[in-house]
Structure formats: C-alpha cells, structure tokens
Assembly symmetry: C2
Homo-oligomer: 187 residues x 2
DNA sequence: TCCAATAGTTACTGATCTGTACATATATCA
DNA sequence: TGATATATGTACAGATCAGTAACTATTGGA
C-alpha cells in the first residue's frame, strides 16, 4: 500500500469539502464517503483544521497549475495570455461540478484574517497575483501592478457571479472588460 | 413592548451571523448574545433557516438603501453615480467591522442554487443589477447591460479582495477601471 | 380588575460534532 | 517466519446541534 493513503484522503476530502462546505462536512461524512477509517485520518492529521489546510494546499497547487497551463496553451504573447485567463475561467464555469472558488468559500467560513485557513486562502490569491503581475510587466503596460489587480478584480467578480448565477456569461463580460483595460494601459 | 421583539431579534442576529458565519452560529449562541429566549425565537421563526432568510431580507433592504443613497449623494449625473458606487464601497471596506458581502458568504455556505438561502442571495444581486442597469441606460452608453454587468464584476471582485486583504485599495483600483469602461462605452 | 398575548425559565430529546481508546488486521521487508 | 508500520472496526467521551414541552412572568388594553 505504498500509494499513500494520506494523499488519497486529501484528494477525496478536497472533492467533498468543495461540494459540501467546511463546517457542513463532518469527519463522519468523510469516513462514509472516502471509505478511510477515522483512526487513519487522525493518524495523518491532528485536527480537522489540519486536514483542511492540506486540502487547500493541494487545491492551490492544482488550480494554479491548471490556470497557468491553460493561459499558456491559449495565448502566445503575455497580452494574449492575460486575455486567455478569461477563456480558462469560462471553461471552468461551464463544468457541472463548478461551485465557485474554494478559497473565497474558505475565507467566508473562517473570517478572521489571523485564522490559518483564512491566511492560506489569502496566500493563494497572492501567488496568483504574482503570476499575473509578471505577465503585465512583460506586456509592457504602464503601471502593470494596477492592471494586474484590476484584471484579478474582474476574475474574482466573475467567479462569484458565475456561482450566484444571475448572469449568463460572466467570463465573456469580464474578458471584454479586460481587453479594454489592457488596451487602455498600452496607449 | 410594542417595539417588536421579532425585529430586535432579526437585527441582532444579523450582526452575529455576519460576524460569525451561519453554520458556526448556533441558536444557543444567539440566545446568549441577544438575551432573547429560545422559546421566543421559535415562536417567531419555525426554523433557523427561516430566521436566516429574514436576516437576509433585512440585510438586502439596508444594504441597497444605503448603497443607492450614497451613490445619489456623491454623484449627480447617472455616470457620476455609477462611479460613486466605488466611493461607497471604499467607505464600507474601511469600516472596522467589514467582513465581506453577507450574500456571497450565504451562497458559499448554502451552495445549491435551489436552496432558499442561496436563491435569496441571488435575488439581492439581481435587484442591485436592476438599479445599475437603469443608471447605465440613463447614461446613454452603448450596450448598457454589458456595462452594468461589468461594473458589478468589479464591485464583487473588490468586495472579495477587500476581505481577503492582499490588496491595498481594491475600491480605488476598481473605480479607475470603471472610469475606463464607462468612457469606452460612451464613445 | 381581568383577559389575552407575548415573553421568559428550565429542562429535555435525539442527533451530530470533534476527537480518542483499544484491540485487531494487513502489508512490506529482512 | 518475524518485526514493524500502517490500516481497520467499534465503541465511546463530552460538547454542541436544532428544536420542543410545560410552566411562569410580564405586559397592554378593555
């Protein structure tokens, strides 16, 4: 049984927490849905919070890898890659299992900035900002920091709006806005 | 005791749910922090869910009234009022008790679109869209629907980002982006 | 003063929560 | 085969969860 039970737990817990929320998911539900015994879980993680932190670390890795890869596949130049972020978002939103951003939800359930789970969610956003900032710099825009933050505002807004479901095509709306902002920053 | 106990409960529960989250706030905590007996609570509301729905209705009323009023106080023309939305957001973010948008958090804890709490959150966003759409129409922009949705993407993004706290001035970034989008929609 | 509505107190149910104790099974490697 | 690590099953502790029952106190209006 070398293929780690710990990793299996984190992967399965990720899906369940994403679908069901953090407080609303009890350890007994994890036992029932993963088939992994509670004793094993508590051997790998001292507390539920530790498990959630491991889940968020995995999610951060998976999500950023996926997002960066899609942006590079769709766009060639830095400017195209920035615009491609919203194509990738559109793909994500159209998946049937889409339920919004796990980090926004984590920060909604663990609100205090000092809480480790909240802090981990903030770290994810910071790391993504780093990537977008680099692209904005390479696109030679005036004030790349501002443009990067503005594009990410559109991204977060689209994520929330896609989950709240009162808009038909938030990724498309965001992308059209992004193009205008990028062009304005290039002149 | 004409000044309704029911209203008092909803007002106090609003503050507690906003600060503490929905699942994380038990009825016993509400009893302890409001001083209202559990029997009274369950005389006014059949379930915790019913209480939450009443809280969200109040929040919708208070928030939209406040936002519309501030926009009208700060901006004269429809265009100025659209831009003023982000001044109002900045005021909100700087309040010490700021904890993000209650409706985003509600939809994060009650994820299924069919859930009454989720639906109520979506309704709030729809109502706000109606107001912004009317302003965009009165500002005589081309495609007011798209502009209204894009401005609201910036708004939701700023709200999330202000709560996740990795950005210094999300309302300012959003406002500068909003001005560019509005000007582009006017030409 | 009496009625009726609204409030509170206390104690409870049964379920579920996180986390643990303890004894047993299984798999790998020497 | 035997040692060690890792997994399991079951049962539990103690707290908390939403919601209820039965009874009492307070209030406003007629």
């Amino acid at each position: 049984m070398r293929p780690n039970k710990r990793d299996e737990l984190v992967q399965k817990a990720l899906i369940i927490f994403y679908r069901n929320g953090f407080h609303a998911t009890g350890m007994d539900m994890l036992v029932a849905e993963t088939g992994i015994s509670k004793t094993s879980m508590y051997k790998h993680f001292r507390t539920k919070e530790d498990l959630i932190l491991a889940v968020l670390r995995l999610r951060d890795e998976l999500f950023r890898n996926w997002m960066v890869r899609r942006m590079e596949e769709i766009g060639k130049t830095p400017k195209e890659q920035l615009i491609a972020m919203f194509d990738a978002l559109g793909e994500w939103f159209s998946k049937p299992e889409y339920r919004g951003c796990m980090f926004i939800k984590a920060s909604a359930e663990y609100q205090e900035a000092e809480h480790p789970i909240h802090a981990q969610a903030a770290t994810h956003k910071k790391l993504l900002y780093g990537h977008v900032l680099k692209l904005a710099e390479n696109a030679n825009v005036t004030d790349p920091g501002t443009l990067a933050r503005q594009l990410l505002l559109l991204k977060e807004g689209a994520i929330v709006t896609a989950h709240l479901g009162h808009s038909k095509n938030p990724a498309g709306d965001a992308q059209r806005a992004a193009k205008i902002l990028i062009d304005a920053a290039l002149s």
